[in-house]
Symmetry: none
Subunit: 420 residues, 2 copies
């Protein structure tokens, strides 16, 4: 089978300031579709000679995904280089122009000359639809390879890769309809997870891993044609990993929590100190979240912890603002304040400063409460490592997992208060 090659174009992808996530996204999609991983990845600057050089070299692979340089600014050179490379004139593509016009109209913006540049393509190009932005992508074929040119903006690139490029490669390469299942696993580091799955000696199915975020990993099981093989493998993984598996439907942890709360007619509210709203924003990512999310407090000062959440001042003084007692009281306080079935309290030291010998940077207490008394609250003490950002992300993922546990009937939640 011909190989898939990846080229990204732009000074910014070489400067080291932006992590280029488009490649890993595309590679994950390619593998999930049952195709072989890309054979090569190249990043080049906004430089005509270097871009054309990369296109020429990539032709030896059968499929080439090119990303970036399709924008309206003068440093966007991809379309012009493509025309040169294919030996065709650069022309305004009517379909692409129509797309640019419609997209701008929706955004209530005028069509500028620079926008019209985004419709300029090699004469033989076929437009690749872009539902997420103004720039149109396009596809061109040489004798030896099919080239897909996509914008570098991640949400546009990703939608077009999933919606058009990967299915097109599958169709062209005659891949049989493949079967795929994604198992969501929480709480096991990637290397250990891979080792555990390897020991299960799953046969025939291809296994790959996608890190959704630290400790939240999607195990993707695929097979060229047989859904039974894939289903059995998913069952095996679920059985062996037990509670660490939160979903076999491809849903993320946040989506799974939302589904469970909706199904069980439960509501949740939060009190976030070190995570400062990240949990709330995760819980409200999907539309209709007001059905299960009632509100939150970000009590950065001790006073607001007692004023808004009823955490006793003497508990804060005796145990410290970062303590199990305060986390529990925060959970109970927000539950009461927002009249929710489940309350969550998070307090910790995200760093880099603020740590002590007893409570070093990365110490985080997370409490959930589902019953009626503070004594019903469940609290975990966690010691996360790494940057401020990483500590906050870990805390939020763990809190989501704990909300899922709190929603189990044995944990005191019986009937949801929510009227649906």
């Amino acid at each position: 089978m011909p190989g898939i090659e990846f080229i990204s174009i732009g000074d910014e992808v070489l400067s080291g300031t932006t992590e280029d996530r488009n490649f890993s996204f595309a590679a994950g999609e390619v593998v999930a579709a049952g195709l072989s991983p890309p054979v090569r990845r190249t990043s080049v600057r906004d430089n005509k000679k270097e871009i054309k050089d990369a296109l020429r070299r990539a032709e030896q692979s059968g499929f080439v995904i090119v990303c970036g340089g399709l924008g309206p600014t003068p440093d966007d050179l991809t379309a012009a280089c493509a025309a040169d490379f294919f030996g065709e004139p650069l022309k305004s593509n009517p379909e692409a122009l129509e797309h640019v016009r419609t997209a701008l109209k929706k955004m209530k913006r005028r069509v500028l000359a620079s926008h019209k540049k985004q419709a300029m393509m090699p004469e033989s190009a076929c437009v690749i639809p872009n539902s997420k932005g103004t720039s149109a992508g396009f596809m061109c074929e040489s004798k030896r390879a099919v080239f897909y040119f996509l914008p570098g903006v991640p949400r546009e690139f990703q939608a077009m890769t999933t919606g058009f490029v990967v299915p097109d490669i599958q169709k062209r390469s005659g891949a049989e309809k493949h079967s795929l299942k994604a198992v969501g696993v929480f709480g096991i580091p990637e290397s250990e997870l891979a080792r555990k799955v390897e020991k299960m000696k799953i046969k025939n199915a291809d296994i790959s891993y996608r890190i959704v975020r630290d400790y939240e990993i999607e195990v993707r099981i695929s097979h060229a044609s047989d859904p039974k093989i894939v289903g059995n493998a998913a069952e095996k993984i679920k059985k062996r990993l037990g509670k660490n598996v939160f979903s076999v439907s491809g849903a993320t942890l946040a989506e799974t929590v939302a589904q469970i709360l909706l199904e069980k007619n439960l509501t949740v509210s939060v009190a976030e100190s070190c995570t400062a709203g990240i949990l709330a924003s995760n819980l409200t990512q999907t539309a209709g979240s007001s059905k299960y999310f009632t509100g939150g407090v970000i009590p950065y000062s001790n006073r607001s912890k007692s004023d808004l959440l009823g955490v006793a001042q003497d508990v804060i003084e005796k145990k410290g603002a970062v303590s199990a007692e305060v986390a529990r009281a925060m959970a109970a306080g927000t539950q009461k304040r927002f009249d929710s079935d489940i309350g969550v309290g998070i307090t910790g030291i995200a760093g880099p400063g603020g740590g002590s010998f007893e409570k070093p940077v990365g110490t985080v207490y997370i409490a959930t409460i589902a019953g009626k008394s503070v004594a019903d609250a469940v609290c975990g003490k966690f010691q996360f490592t790494g940057s401020r950002d990483r500590v906050r992300r870990h805390s939020v993922a763990r809190a989501l997992y704990m909300i899922m546990e709190a929603a189990q009937p044995k944990n005191g939640v019986k009937n949801g208060k929510r009227k649906s």
Copy 2:
């Protein structure tokens, strides 16, 4: 000046499951050292032909950093390919062997045959010291380029890049200082921004654009050697774009807001409905944020808007929860509640449901207050387009910008309450 090129080797860097952070680290170090960013990045599989092909092609750049494939397992092919490429025998290097022995002794592990493989190098190779692991790196010179071969393990790669490779390139290239300046611009779409900058006819300097997030764009001005050219161009852009420029230091909008609040000794608190904590998490990204951020409320229900923030029930009933009046009252309520200099209130319809003819999806009211009475509050009505996620991101960026404006003395803030 000769360019710097980057090659990473290994099936795992192409599978999409691991994000390859070595490149962005190296690029960052290179730029920080005043050298020009890498000219190209290539990732290839564990395949002899493809590795040699990449080495050959990279030779046209003066410096080549090669990463990965130096380990003890059979799929580590880099040293053998290097020997082939340089036309030299592969030999056990005594210095490298000594390094492997010492490193393993420290870890209390025996020397296995597979470890000895790690000392095999092209005959002319110079060892690059590795303080963090067993594998030794090495350097080889061809007529046209210097090649640095480093292990792929991030902590080893990073230590060797910073400790040896970048200083060596600096020394050899007798580097003139590469000059770079980043101007942060808010509120102008990329295409329009590029058109405006183009009209300024900035000469000599290279201009590129990095989209930090929608409507927050970094204009990067660079020149091979002259900081004056770069400085003048930055001044010109700042003068022409006026209030849209929020920083000439490379700081993001969130970082700039934090700096201004710290400098002026001001505090801020938030009340976020549709953005549900995203603004708070943006404001608390950096350490020490408790100096200027006092807290927040996420009032998802109307009751919590009145209970926690004192928004009058009849205002909510008459004007609707999504209205300028409610946004102003939320800003004033959180300012009072958290005793902050500036209060921010956000209420809107993020979608995809919930819109009406009068208030369609994407309608967002953002209010800031810096004075003492609700009448001092400034409120903007915005009509954002796109997905729920996009509406929320746009709202947060706009709110950050409005906090910056509220921190101007003319807007009622005179002396910060914060004790520093």
